[in-house]
Structures are given as structure tokens and as C-alpha cells.
């Protein structure tokens, strides 16, 4: 059965009321949509503009975003889950992409602003993912923070809320993690050249 907007609405309201199980039921509903967005992103396309065709995740997303005043916690919780999903989807996608063009030369990729990936930059994405795995062994929380901020687009405050730590700690961890990851990725590029 097609998940309806009403389902999302109900689940979201349950989430706002503190029903954690709602997240579990919400994820499958928004998973496809996240996947679609990820695809658009990988193909560097703009997602289509028609609202009618959309967009459970947009619906869910907007509802949560709009609830500025209300229950911050469930909002960051939702995005925390979305971040994890997004990472998984994108990495799967990148893997498939690379498998297809196996044998192609590895490229040196500039670590430019915002790490804007092109489809050809799947390799970098995978490297980032691997580096994150390594970081997780060293410092699981930092790895999680990167996932939340980079894959989930959570703000410092939202990430702090999700992890139950202070925004200050998030900020600190975030800058260390970034420096560390920057080193990891640069090193690999360097080795390749």
C-alpha cells in the first residue's frame, strides 16, 4: 500500500509526543524518498520541482523543520536517523557506481569547498566513508558527529541534542574530526599522485 501523507503526519505527531517507536515506522516511509534525493544528488540533478509528486520526506521534513517551537528532540532524532540512512544510501550508490566503471584511472580530487562531489567523485565519498570507519574506532562520537553534520545536515545544536551532549563539545569534536579527516583524505590523494 502506498504510504500516505496522513501516515507521515500521524507518525510525526506521535514522535512529537515522545513515541520513539514512531521513528522506526517513519523510516521505511521516508527511505524511498531519501533514496530518490540521493540519486538526484549523485546524478547532479535538481530534484523535480513538482510538489504534487512529492514527497513524503519533504512533507516529513517540512513538518519537522516548521515545528521550531516544538519538541526539538524528536526533530533532531528524526534527522539523526535520516543522516544514517543518507550515508548508507549514498555509499551504496557510490560503490555501485565505481563497480560499473572498474578499471578506470583513479583521479586526484581537489578537496574543494563543501566537498562537492560529482558522480566521478564516488571514490572520494568512499574514502571519506572508510576514513569515518577508522575514526569511529578511534573516537566513535566524532565519527557520529560527522555523520550527523555532513550526511544529515544537522546544526551543531541539533547534533548536540541528538547525542545528548553540549553544543560546545560538538563544536570541539567537529573541528578535530574535520582536521583528522582532512589529513586522512589528503594523505591518500598524496599517495596516489
Amino acid at each position: 500500500m502506498e504510504p500516505s501523507q496522513a501516515d507521515v503526519t500521524i507518525l510525526l505527531s506521535e514522535l512529537t509526543r515522545g513515541n520513539k517507536e514512531a521513528v522506526e515506522r517513519l523510516v521505511p516511509l521516508v527511505y524511498d524518498e531519501l533514496k530518490r534525493l540521493a540519486n538526484c544528488y549523485m546524478r547532479r540533478e535538481r530534484p523535480d520541482h513538482t510538489l504534487q509528486a512529492t514527497a513524503l520526506v519533504n512533507e516529513a521534513y517540512l513538518k519537522l523543520v516548521c515545528q521550531q517551537s516544538v519538541n526539538w528532540q524528536s526533530r533532531s532524532h528524526f534527522f539523526g536517523i535520516a543522516a544514517q540512512l543518507m550515508r548508507r544510501i549514498l555509499i551504496d550508490h557510490a560503490r555501485r557506481h565505481l563497480r560499473k566503471k572498474r578499471g578506470g584511472a583513479h583521479e586526484v580530487v581537489p578537496l574543494d569547498e563543501g566537498l562537492v562531489f560529482s558522480p566521478d567523485q564516488s571514490a572520494v565519498l568512499l574514502r571519506l566513508d572508510e576514513a569515518l570507519e577508522r575514526l569511529a574506532k578511534l573516537d566513535p562520537r566524532q565519527s557520529k558527529i560527522v555523520e550527523l553534520r555532513f550526511f544529515g545536515g544537522l546544526s551543531v545544536e541539533e547534533a548536540a541534542e541528538f547525542l545528548g551532549i553540549s553544543p560546545k563539545t560538538v563544536k570541539r569534536d567537529w573541528s578535530v574530526a574535520k582536521a583528522w579527516l582532512h589529513g586522512e583524505l589528503r594523505q591518500q590523494n598524496g599517495n596516489l599522485t
Binding site: 544528488y41 530534484p47 521534513y61 513538518k63 569547498e113 573516537d139 582532512h182
Partner: protein, 829 residues
Amino acid sequence: MAISPENWDRVKALFAGALECDAQERSAYLRENAADQAVREEVERLLAEHEQASTFLSKPICADLHLERNAILGRFAPGELLDGKFKIAQLIAEGGMGEVWLAEQTKPIHRMVALKLIKTGMDTKTVVARFESERQALALMDHPSIARVYDAGSTAAGRPYFAMEYVPGLRVTDYCDKHRLTISERLELFLQVCDGVQHAHQKAIIHRDLKPSNVLVVEQDKKAVPKIIDFGLAKATWGRLTDKTMFTGFGVMMGTPEYMSPEQADQREHNIDTRTDVYSLGVILYELLTGTLPFDMKQLRKLPLDEVLRQIREDDPPRPSTKLSNEAKTATKNAGLRRTEPRQLVRLLESDLDWITMKALEKNLARRYDSPAYLAADITRYLTNQPVLASPPSVSYRAGKFIKRHRVGVLAAATVFLMLIALSVSMGVEDIRIKRAEANLHQALDTADQILSSTGRLESASDSRMNMFQKDLLKNMIIFYTSIAKQNSTNEEIGKEAASAHSRLGDIDRLLENYREAGEEYRDAIDRFEKLEQDHPKKREYRQALARAHNYLGEALRLWSDGKHTSPPQDARSDAAREYESALRLQQALHDEQPQDAKYQQELARTHYNRGILRSDAKDLNASESDFVKAIQLLEPLATREAESQTAEEDPPSHDLARVYNNLGILLRSGGQLEKGQTYSERAIRIEKELVKKDPDYWEYGVELATFYNNLAFSFLEKGDNEMAKQQNHEALDTIEDLATPSASMEYERAKAHMLHLYLGPAQHPEFHALYKHLGDGYVNLAKDYFNSGHADGARLAIEALGQVLPNVSEPDRTRLAKSYQELRKELQ
């Protein structure tokens, strides 16, 4: 080179520390703090990476998800043509509800309009359809303070939009601050806003979302003119407010709950009427006067939605002047913006303006201003130095709530309060502020009624639970009610108050066990209500009051004749029976006419219950049983309904039901039907337990529950089941013990002492020695408290009780308490 996890924490800390230093100081910092070379090198490496990584990962990969927003929101691009007639110019504002764009309408008329784009998340078709349904009504509005809404439609992206009069103005609060308007100037402006809202109400349009950002001020001919925008939008966009989806609708549509009325915050409340706008106007007024909101929204926003809504529904905001006095920091600034000093401002707001604002913010719809016009009229009265109608906000309402929480303490305080009111009533006549005196009087009446009804839940003055304060209070209330009861007037309103006052006097005398006087008062009340009833046969309230007076007269006569009181008239019982008859006849008729009215049903049940007791006193067991059964039949459905509502009621039918079951249990037991009686006693206990659970603050339920257990214990004793009897007694004691909450007052001690005494009787239960000691100590404290508060009568009672308990206390406490006993007696003389 990898760093070990053990050293990682150290690296992190040093990295953070180094980042806080200036670039030049970093090496020195690391030299000083990083002893381990590997660690230092790692930190230095990371710092170097950090320098290059400023933009690295700075945009989330799924920024698209965020960038999407514009696409999702279907934003306009300047120059775009909407619906072939609106040429988009620029974005004016962005808010919780969506954005507002300035646009040029090209046809059919050429004009500038404001296009309000509603956020997605709702059914566009429905929004537009709802707007269409109200369009005609909106078109009827024609007022200088109301901005017109011209059109509604949907964008290509499917978002609903509204086209309306473009108002290039400031929010009313900002305008007032910018021009440093004085309080009077602000009020003048506010009056125009009220006038506009009133106009809309007359066209049957409720705004539902009044707030400063919807009240803009423009200058026309050098005059400030407020313009209310967004009329009709709220209904179109959150018309579904009344159903369950409001929960999410709230987040999407409302953004902020600052100006939301208590009834809007109540998800069960479906009656949003014009008074909702009055409330929001009250919040705006509050803000205009003080520069702050009634509720601290910064605090509120940290709370879950449920709690925010609860606060809006239940919590009383501080009065404007109080709020200002409490916020010294902002008071200077806010006073400056009103061209005055903080202290002057507080003084300016005190009384009249406080009251006006609070009356607009009343939670209770019935006490709020009925319409913006009434609110405006009171402000005009203030501005022209006439007495205002508003008076200290809902004293009685609040007293009622307070009484519920602290029944006893309040009663004592109310004694003083009533005296003051009585004085102000007599003085008010000479003063020009007659209106206010009248308002005081009404509130005093309300308060007194509430106090009386909470006291009236007890049977009589010999009820152990009634203390001296309550008795004093009742005596003082006689003075108060007498002044009203003396009124003889053809005016219906005064006649009604006088009749009620007689009835109240009857209640007081009945509670004080002055049955002769009570009877006279009730008869007087009956005469007056009969007359009112004849003059106004359509008004059921008079018949209801008449029935009540008959019932209570019956009660007074029944109590008089219960064998514990002196010189009852010979025919007291048959007179009582006749009074109950009269009450029942009237109440049965009311119930037949209005079978849905719970109050009539409950009152009818009560009279049956009362007559049942009379009949059982007269040993007419069968007749008594039939009355009790009748009462049960009437009360059961009410109690079921009550159980569904989950909230604690002031006068719950289930309480009556529990009492009836209890008495029926006793009745059947005395008739030898032990088993059946026991079932009913158990039912009484079950219901009473629920009451205790629902309303734990009201300790009388607990005491009563203990009584019910005790009755059940008797029933087991009669069966010869001593073990079960003992068990019930323990339940009773546990119940009493559970009452020992932090709020345990001396009244509680007293109740407990009495109950214990009642249960334990003479010293047959050695295991209760500790309790006897406790009891003795309780009486000593009680007596001291009474002495300290100057109530010798109360002290005497406590000392007497102590004397009765003494023999049951074991040594060494007996000697100690005996000594206290003698000292107290000396003090008494």
C-alpha cells in the same frame, strides 16, 4: 603515523586548548602542556590540517535536502508572473506561516498587493475552498483598520496563496516603541484595533490569529492608523484546528503559541468564538503596556508541546504591573519607551489597567470581556477617568482553585477577606465607585458560595473535621449574607440575591447546628423563591433553588431529630419527610423536562439519598432501601460518564454514589443481610479509592475511605470474621497514614487523631501503642497551635481529647504527655 586511542583524548584536549590560543602562542602552549612528543606532533599535524580544512565538509552533503527547501516551498523569483495577474516584486517578510511577497497586480485593477504564501504541509485545495466559502463574508468587511483580502489561489508548485491589501507598516508594538508612545497614546491606538476586530465580529468573522505582526501601523494624514491583516486566513488555513490533527497543524501553522487563547490550546475545546480574539487582544495589550509577554516564551519553548498548552490553559500570568516590577532589567528600557520611569509606569498600570488586561486574559470565557467593544469601552472609561468594570481578576475563580488546593488555610484567610468586602460594600455606596463595589460584591458572593460549598461538604459542626476557623468563618459569613438578605426589592436580580442569601444563611446555621435558625432561614428562602418562581415560571433556576431549599430544610429537620441534639420539635421527622417530598416533586419534574441535565439528576438523587437516611433513622428499612436504590440508579450513569472524563470534578457524582453504597451497605447489614451489605460496602470503597486517586489533595476523600473500611470491618466483625475485620482496620489506618503528605496540616493531624481514636476505641489493641503516642503528641501540638492563634475553644477541645487518649498511651510517654496535659489545662485557665 597513527595515534593510539589512549593518547587520543589528550590530543583532543590539547587541540582544543591550542585553538583557543592565538596562532603565535600555540607552540608555547604545546611545549608547556604536551609532555609526550608523539602527542605534540599529532596535535601540530592536526592544527596544520585544520588550517587547510576551513571549508572542508562545511556544507552538508545533503545540503540538497536543505537547498531543496526553496524548491519544495515553491518560492517565487522576482519578475515572475503568478496566475497571469500578479507580477512578483520582492520578498517582504518570512515567518512561521510562510513568506510574504510584494507584487503588482495588473488586472482587473492595477495596484500593489501583498502575496502571502502559505507553507506546504496542508491540502491546498482545502485551504482555497475554505477561503472561498468565507470570501463573501470577508467582502462585507469595510473598516479603516482592516486590511482587505482580495483573492486566494495556488501557485504552480501547489502552495496556497492569498492576495491582500499591501500595508507598508510596522508591527504595532514596534511602531509604539519607535515613536516612544505614552501609555495613553498606545491605548488610543489599541482602541482602533479593538474597533476593527469588533467590526469583523459583527460580520461574523473571527480572526483567530491576532498578534502584533498581524496588526501593522501606517501613517495616513500624519495620523497613526492600525491595519489588521490576515483576516479570514486562519480559518482557511487551520480550519481543521478543531479536530485531532491540530497537533501537527499547530507546528505547521501557528509557529508560536504566544497569542493563543486557552480554549485554542485545549484540544478538546471546539468552541472557538469571538472571545478568542478578545484574549489575543489582551496579550497584545499586555505587550503594549509592559513590553513583555504574559508568559515567558523563552522558557515555554523549551517545554514539550503538551506542557506549553497546559500552561496556556491553566496558569495565570502575572499582572502587568507585577511583571514589570519583577523585571527590573527591562523595566527601565520599557519605561523609557513609554516616556516615563519604571516606578511611575508600575503605578500607572496598577489597578485599572491591570484589571482590564487580566479580564481580557481570563481563562474562563464567562468572565472574559464578551467582545472587543466591551474591552474598548472599559479602556475608554479608564482614559476618561470613569470607574472601569473590570475588577481584580477572578478573585473568586482563583479562590476556588486555591481552596481546592489548601482548603483549610484559605478558609481562615477568607474570614478577613469577607470582613473587608463587607466593609467595602458599605463604604462603596458613598463612593463614586459604586460600580466597582458592586463587582466586589458579586465576587464576594461567588467566593463566599465557594467557601460555603466546600465547607458544606461536611455534615455539621460536630463533624470532627470542621475546625474553629471554619466555624468562625461561617459566623462571619452570617454578617455578610444578612446584609444582602435584608434587601427587599422588586428588582429580580436583587430579589434573587436576597433569596439566595437566606438559603446560604440556612446552610450556615445548619452547619453550625443552629437548626431552629436554619429552619427559619430556609422557610424565608422558600417564600422568596416561590414568589420568583411564580413571577418567572420559565426560569428553571428558581425551581431548582426552591427544591434545594426544601431539601436542605428537610436536612436541617432530620439532623435536628437524630437524637444527638436538644429539643427537636415533635413533628421534626414528619416535617422533614414533607420537605423532601416537595423537593423531590420539583426535582423530578426538572429531571423529566431536562433528562440530559446532569445537575438536575444529581440533585434528585441526593434528595432520595437524604430521605433514605431519614427513613432508615426511622427504622423504615424497606422504604429507605428503595430511596437508596433510586439514588443509585440516578447516579450510576453520571458516575460512568465522570469516569470517562478522567478529570477531578469539584462535586463528583461518584462521591455521592460511594456514600449511597456505603449507607445502603450499613442499612442491609442492620437488616441482617450481611453478605449483600458487604458487597455494597466494597463498592463504596472501590469508588472512593478512585476519588482519592483522582483528587489526592482533597484529603477528606481519604478520611471517608477510611470510614468505609471501618464500616466493612464492622460487617466482618458481625460475621465473626475477626481476621478480616482487622485487615479492614489496617486498610483504614494505612489510608489515614497515606494522608501524611508534606502538606499535612494540623487539621490533618486532628482528623487523623479522631479517626484513630474512632478505630482504636479503648485500649484493646496493644500493637497500636505507638499510634496512641503519636495521637497524644498530635493533640498537644494542636492545642498549642490553637493557643497561638488565639482560639481557646479549639485548644479546649484538643486538651479534652488528649485527656481521653492518655490512658491508652504506654509509659514512659504517658507520664510525659500527662505533664503536657496539666500544663495545657493551666494555660487554658
